[in-house]
Amino acid sequence: MIGTAQFCTFYLDGLTFGVEVQRVQEVIRYQEMTRIPLASGVVSGLINLRGQIVTAIDLRRRLDLPDRPPEEKPMNVVVRTDDGVVSLLVDEIGDVVEVAADRFESPPETLQGTARNLVQGAYKLDNRLLLVLNTEAGVQVPAE
């Protein structure tokens, strides 16, 4: 019997990413945000999540991917981290998938730059790769 893991998947610039399902508090549609002047470009703003103020991090920017076209509104994947609840802005939400542990592989050495620290590895699905996001590292603001 091989262990399995469940991931909540989402899409960023055509790539499929996943975070452990236990980490995800909820998924919500686009929310009005309050921008934060002087903050790092990675931080998109603050949202009001039922009385709780949550910082929204644009994962495209965090992963050095090109900005999303302005007419496309991002969705929020609200995750629990050691530093509290953080919202990850993604293009679109996918399914929750269950994958077998033996399909996991570490990223190749050729993966460099920011993504090296953020992508823990990939699960080889039948028609695509599921990139596993390191949530704790992902919600850190890079030093500028």
């Binding site: 309050t34 921008r35 002087l38 903050a39 931080v43 603050l46 009001n48 103020i53 910082t55």
Partner: protein, 756 residues
């Protein structure tokens, strides 16, 4: 952890409180060994502990407390005089009791240690000074002291205790309260309080607080609907909701608040022990003990504060010899101050020691590789001072067990920053060092001014707010001047540095001309940061509102201009500006400057300027004028709120008693005031004391060059002048106030004449 009986738990909690009280009392007693009240209080406390633990079967604890009690009873009867060795002995007794209590709490038993040494020491202390002949029956029964007993509780001891108790009762002065105490040793002087108080888990209060925070937000949203709906029944219901919510919020806030005095209480002991150890003489003073902080914050700053206090004694204050050589009193002074400011609690720990040795800090920092030589030379004095907060920094020539391990101030800084606070340091060579901790009230609900800038709303804590200035287009262009390119505004003759919020936040400028666009209105929010004033230009000023301060997430902690965020009535998030951070970013506050100097300079300029802004008042048919810089506020006070105290009319005003002076009566002018209208009062403030001048009407504010036409006869008027084509008397406010209250100006030696 073993299960403890309710009664044992109760005993532990109560005894811990008693021990804290003991520490304080003993230090007080050492300073004033003759204080009978303090001695009685100490005696009662030890007696209570001894009585209860005897009842619960903690034999070891009882025998320790017993010898202490014997010593104390001799002290109290005046058979022995207190000396430092006795105080030390009694303090170590307190420590031993604390240790045993700790063991009971964690292990469920009294632990292994026997405390024979301590017991012998305490016995030795009382026997060595005995003067044979004057022994009383009580002492015969009480001593020889009971030998240390482990384990059970022999019946013999019970008997001894019983006899002693009754003998004591006969012996001690027949003060009724003490007799009551002896009768109920278990609940002691907490008896009355314990009936009306309960202990509540802090976690529960946290939850309650969060719920109330959400309720406040929901209330704000409902209040916004009332303005659009216009339904009378809904309006009155929501007003009731508003009222109840506010009261509930205040109530819940109060349950979590604790005076900072609770953690300061142990400092006299810390200071005493440390200064003895270091061979120094230090006196501790406290101001603002009653300043309240949230319980969680009180816990979090306990250790950093202790560290700073230890550091001040070890490094700050010099030895008595060095102090005398420097022309200072041999006894050093450590001052703890706490006060609320800008939605934060400020705690200052000042010593009057040698101050920071900046050269040595530079040198040490280079040695330890914290900065390079080049960097050190380029740093200004303030930055060098900050180096002591760097990890691994310590200048102590040798490592003492007090401090000097290099894990000092950086730990303080990180701990304070962890709860969202800040540490600052000011030092004057030869005069001392002040460490300032700014602690946020993270859970607090504070009044704030809401402003808009580039479409976003920002909240500015009301406490930093001084006034609002609005300039129309033409005025704006003329009144905002440039001082070598830096915008300034003349606020009643003083230059006020101007900071544009858009620029500071890196937002788009409104136009290429920036803040001096021709037909725009300029709104200036005059703020105070660190004794400095500055004007902040915002796009528009919305309203004041009660906001719930929520801390920013760790991703945003590094931005100094924000103090937190809040949720507005419409459900959107608004950022709270950190006034000090904004001022620092705009370089309004940089090097430390002497506040006194700045104040003097401003007073000077006030005298020299021929053109003054005057408040014009009317009493009867006379016109009177006061410089507006002497006016703190204008108030309308309902007539029925006037009370009488000390043959004077007074009103309750902002938690103080405000004496009222009827200007008409004092100057002998018949007044023409409308008896149904509220009193028009001009409030004057000087060094925290206020006085209210009652006038008929507040007529106008004019800016005018005062041309003195005639010296007056009355000693309360300085001169007469023509203002706005009418003869106006200039009031000599200080002498007017002095006439009614001679002592008013006693503290500030002399207030300069107003129109001098």
């Amino acid at each position: 952890m073993p299960e403890l009986d309710e009664i044992v738990k109760e005993f532990l909690v109560e005894s811990h409180e008693n021990l804290d009280q003991l520490d304080r009392d003993l230090v007080i007693l050492e300073q004033d060994p003759t204080s009978h009240d303090t001695l009685s209080s100490i005696f009662r406390t030890i007696h209570t502990i001894k009585g209860t633990c005897g009842f619960l079967g903690f034999g070891k604890l009882e025998s320790v407390a017993h010898v202490g009690e014997n010593l104390l009873s001799k002290l109290r009867d005046g058979d022995l005089a207190l000396d430092p060795s006795m105080t030390t002995g009694l303090l170590s007794l307190v420590d031993a009791v604390r240790e045993i209590l700790g063991n009971i709490e964690t292990l469920g038993s009294e632990g292994e240690a026997e405390y024979t040494e301590l017991i012998e020491l305490l016995i030795g202390l009382q026997e060595s000074r005995l003067t044979g002949s004057s022994e009383t029956p009580a002492r015969e029964i009480a001593g020889p002291p009971v030998p240390p007993i482990t384990g059970g509780f022999p019946p013999a001891l019970r008997a001894v205790q019983f006899i002693e108790e009754s003998a004591l009762e006969r012996l001690i002065e027949p003060r009724s309260d003490e007799r009551e105490l002896a009768a109920h040793p278990a609940d002691g002087r907490h008896a009355a309080v314990s009936d009306t108080t309960i202990r509540v888990d802090v976690g529960l209060l946290d939850k309650l607080m969060n719920r109330v925070g959400e309720l406040v937000l929901a209330r704000n949203q409902i209040l916004q609907f009332t303005s659009t709906l216009g339904d009378a029944a809904f309006l009155s219901t929501s007003q009731r909701l508003n009222l109840i919510t506010t009261e509930l919020q205040e109530g819940v806030m109060k349950t979590r608040m604790q005076p900072i005095g609770n953690i300061w209480g142990k400092f006299p002991r810390v200071v005493r022990d440390l200064s003895l150890q270091c061979g120094k003489r230090v006196r501790i003073e406290m101001e603002g003990k009653e300043t309240e902080l949230d319980k969680t914050i009180v816990e979090a700053i306990k250790d950093p504060l202790t560290h700073v206090v230890r550091n001040s004694i070890d490094h700050g204050i010099e030895t008595p010899e060095a102090r005398l050589a420097a022309g200072k009193p041999a006894e050093g002074c450590l001052l703890l101050r706490a006060f609320h400011e800008g939605g934060q609690v400020n705690i200052e720990i000042s010593d009057d020691g040698a101050g920071l040795n900046l050269d040595r800090i530079r040198q040490k920092a280079i040695e330890r590789g914290i900065v390079t030589q080049e960097q050190a030379l380029r740093m200004n004095d303030r930055d060098v001072g900050q180096l002591i907060f760097a990890p691994g920094f310590s200048t102590a020539a040798q490592v003492t067990n007090v401090s000097g391990r290099g894990v000092g101030m950086d730990v303080v800084k990180t701990n304070v920053e962890k709860i969202g606070g800040a540490v600052d340091l000011q030092s004057q060579p030869g005069q001392g060092t002040t460490i300032k901790l700014k602690i946020p009230l993270t859970l607090a609900i504070i009044p704030a001014l809401i402003v808009t800038c580039d479409g976003d709303r920002f909240a500015i804590p009301q406490v930093s707010l001084l006034e609002l200035v609005r300039l129309d287009g033409e005025q704006a262009r003329k009144r905002i001047e440039r001082l070598h390119g830096v915008p300034v505004y003349r606020l009643r003759g003083h230059l006020l540095p101007i900071v544009n919020l858009r620029q500071e936040l890196g937002l788009a400028s409104k136009s290429t001309e920036g803040e001096t666009n021709t037909d725009e209105v300029v709104n200036i929010v005059v703020l105070r940061a660190d004794d400095r004033q500055f004007g902040l230009i915002v796009d528009s000023i919305n309203d004041t509102e009660e906001i719930v301060v929520k801390p920013l997430s760790q991703q945003l902690k590094g931005i100094p201009v924000y103090a937190g965020a809040t949720i507005m009535g419409d459900g959107r998030v608004a950022l709270i500006l950190d006034v000090l951070g904004t001022a620092q970013r705009a370089h309004v506050v940089s090097e430390v400057r002497d506040r006194g100097l700045a104040d003097n300079a401003s007073r000077q300029s006030q005298h020299n300027s021929a053109c003054q802004t005057l408040l014009i008042l009317e009493v009867g048919d006379r016109r009177l004028a006061l410089p507006i810089s002497m006016v703190s506020r204008l108030e309308e006070i309902p007539r029925d709120s006037v009370e009488h105290a000390d043959q004077q009319e007074v009103v309750q005003y902002r938690g103080q008693i405000l004496p009222l002076l009827r200007l008409g009566q004092m100057l002998g002018i018949a007044t023409l005031e409308d008896p149904s209208a509220p009193l028009q009062v001009v409030v004057y403030r000087e060094d925290g004391r206020s006085v209210g001048l009652v006038v008929d009407r507040i007529a106008d504010i004019v800016e005018s060059a005062v041309e003195v036409t005639k010296k007056t006869q009355s000693d309360c008027l300085l001169a007469s002048a023509v203002i706005q084509q009418r003869v106006t008397d200039l009031i000599d406010l200080p002498s007017l106030i002095r006439r009614s209250d001679r002592a008013f100006f006693d503290v500030p030696a002399n207030t300069p004449g107003v129109f001098a």
